[in-house]
Structure formats: structure tokens, C-alpha cells
Symmetry: C7
Subunit: 75 residues, 7 copies
């Protein structure tokens, strides 16, 4: 249990992996987690917005402001 | 009463146990509490989203941003 | 008037007593106040959710995030 | 004008007096102001909730979290 | 332009003058600005609430919590 | 690119010029930018509120609390 | 992976490039990213507001307050 006792450790393990990010406005983005900080600002690459499981638009690199994020999970 | 005088002590006692997490948007997640911090950011493993007591979707590991959380309780 | 000049003193006097906690989403929880901190995060034991004065569900130990709380009062 | 140049001075002058506290959710509480802090967390004694000028429920001592408060005024 | 380069300087010039304060909940208060702080908490004396330009209720001294305020303007 | 690498530099260049300020509640104010701070609290002089491009009311000097502001732009 | 491990690095790479900024109120602005800070306050030049992919209004230079921003992405 030594490893991963802090929430940001879990984000660190997801770095460069494909993650789902869900926002307070119910939007869902999927992309490769390139960066995050203590405010949970995140940068996704090869990102797309999804709706009902289907791709809504392709976005390339996106910066998402942390205070809009509810959930981050490896896909 | 010495032990458990601070709220985070209660979260610490729930570590690695199955907890229910309820969010401001009324969503409910259940999973093993792997990590938390002073912002109440939490990481759940073997997580699932529930609705009306029934599983809605399986999610694996999820990071939940603290400011969206209302309640955490051992299942 | 020396004693109880700060709001947290009042919470301290309610420690281990049965309190009502009302949230911004209009939910009401009742339980024994085990812990609180300066963010007004609280832990209740033998907690239950109430609606219209009647018990809605039994919850055991719950952690409530401070920024969702409006009011705390000894029952 | 030396005295009362800061807002908390006005709250201090209202200490132990009957005040009306109005919240963001439009609820109105009346009670004796026993304590407050820089977050405007307040404790009222002999408190009651009012609606349309009439008493809705008696509450005894209540702790109100500052970030839900809009207005405090001596009755 | 040396004088009044910071927003709080403008509030300072309005001290003891009659100001209109508009809140996020669309309420409008008018009174003599007695005190303010960096959070924009303000105290008004001889205050009244207005609606559609007409007095709705007389309030005496009121403390308004800064984070509910949108606009302050000398009447 | 040395000059104007920080957002507040852009506000500084707009000082004493006529700016449009748009708020979270969709209100729009126009006036001469006299002062601002790091919270983006701003003071406008010769201010007016606009609606649909037309003047709704004249306001003189106004203090706008930063956390209600979405956008500031030279007219 | 050394470069771009922090979210603000991604914004820095987008400096002087055309970016899309989406706000919590669903508004969308496009412009050249001239400046940003740790609050994610941003300044866009040659900015325009878009709706449904079409230009709604031309705005020149705009300052956008960080706490209203959800997403920033190179166009």
C-alpha cells in the first residue's frame, strides 16, 4: 500500500494513457493524458468529445480547467 | 475519544474498504477507497456508478475531484 | 461571554451529541457529531438521512464535505 | 469615524443581540448572535427559521456556514 | 491618475456616501457605506431594499457578504 | 513579444479607455476603465448598462466584483 | 516526455496561435492566444465569438477571466 496513497499518484499512473474526463456540464472527453497539476487542470492529446458513447467532435490537444472536472478514469 | 477527532481520520479508517461517494450532481459511485487528500479528491478502485441502487456502469479506477463530493460513507 | 466566542466552539460543544446537518441540496442528515475541521467537513456516526421529518435511509458513519453544508444544530 | 471602519466591527456590535440572517437559498433565520469568524460562519442562539415574517420552526442553537450567508442585520 | 488606481480606492471615496449595492440574486440595497474589506464584505447604514426603483423594506444597519455582491455604485 | 505576456498587462493597456464588461448574469456594462486588481475587481467611470446594444441605465462610477466578470474588451 | 509535463506548458506552446476557448455559459471564443496566467485568465487578439461554428460578433482584444473557462484548444 506504500505506492498510490495520494490521489495524484493515480493520475500519474494514467499519464500517457487514454482516459475519460467527465465535466460538471455533463460533457465527456477522451484523450491521452499528457499533463495535470494540483488544481487538476489537465491536458489531453488526440482528444475527442463523446456523447452517449459516440464521438461528437475531434479536438487534437485540449487544456481542461480543473474546476470543471468531476471524474477522470483510464478508458 | 482521542482517536478520530478529525474528519480525515474517518476517511483513513475507510481506506481500502468499499465506500459510497455521492456527488453534487446526484451521481453515486461505489468502490474501494485507495487514496484521498485534504481537498477530498478521492481515488476508487473497482468502481461502479449506481442509480437507484442498481449498477449503471463499471469503471475500474476513478479519480473524483473533491469539490464535487457531498458524502462519503463505508458501504 | 469568554467561552464560546468563536463559531467552532459551538461545534465543539456539540461533539458526540446528536446533530442535524442541512445541505445546500436540501438534504438533511442526523447523527452523532464525531469530528469536524475548519472547512466544516464533518463526520457523523449512526447517521440517517431524513425527509419531511421521517427517516429515509440508515447510513452508519458518513463524511460530509464542508462546502455543501448550510446549517448544523443539536437535535 | 475611527470606530467601525471594518465590516466585522459591525458584527461585533451586534454580538448577543437579535439578528436576522438571510441565506442564498432564501431562508431566513433569527436568533441571538453568539459568535462569528472571518469566514462569516455564525452561531445563533434561541434561533428560529422564518418564512414570510412568520416562525416556521424553532431551532435552539444553530451554526450557519458563512458561504451560504447573504445578509446579517440587527432585528 | 496617481490617485484611484486600485478598485478599493473607489470604494474608499464612497465611504459615508449613499451607495447602491446589487447582489447575484438580483436584490438591490441602498444605504450609507460605513465599512468594507478586501473580500468586499460591506456594511450599510440606514439601508433599505429596493425593487423596481421602489422601497421594499427598511433595514437599518446591514452586513452584506462580499461574495454575493456584483456591483457597488454611489447613488 | 516581451510586452504583454501577462493578462493583466492587457488590462493595463486598456486603462482610461472605454471597455465593455460582461458578467456571468449576462449583464453588460460599458465605461472608462479606471482601476482593476488581481481579483479582476474593476472600477468604471461614466458607466452605463446596455442591453441588446442599447443603453439601459446611466450609472456614473461603478465597482464591479471580479468573480462576476466573464469578459473585458476595449470598445 | 521531459517537455510538456505541466498543463501550462501546453498553453505556452499555443501562445500566438489561434485557439478556441469554451466557457461555462457555453459561449465559444476564437482568437490568437497572447497571454495567460496561473488562474487561466487569458487574453485573445483578433477575437470573435462563435455560435454553432459561425461568427457571431468580432471583438478585437478580449480578456477572459479564468474561472469561466472550461476548455482551451488550438484551432
Amino acid at each position: 500500500m506504500m505506492e498510490q496513497s495520494r490521489p495524484l499518484d493515480a493520475l500519474n499512473q494514467a499519464r500517457n494513457k487514454r482516459v475519460i474526463v467527465e465535466l460538471k456540464n455533463n460533457k465527456q472527453f477522451v484523450g491521452n493524458l499528457k499533463a495535470f497539476d494540483i488544481h487538476i487542470n489537465v491536458v489531453l492529446e488526440n482528444a475527442e468529445e463523446r456523447e452517449g458513447g459516440e464521438m461528437k467532435r475531434k479536438l487534437g490537444t485540449i487544456f481542461l480547467r480543473g474546476d470543471t472536472i468531476i471524474l477522470i478514469s483510464p478508458e
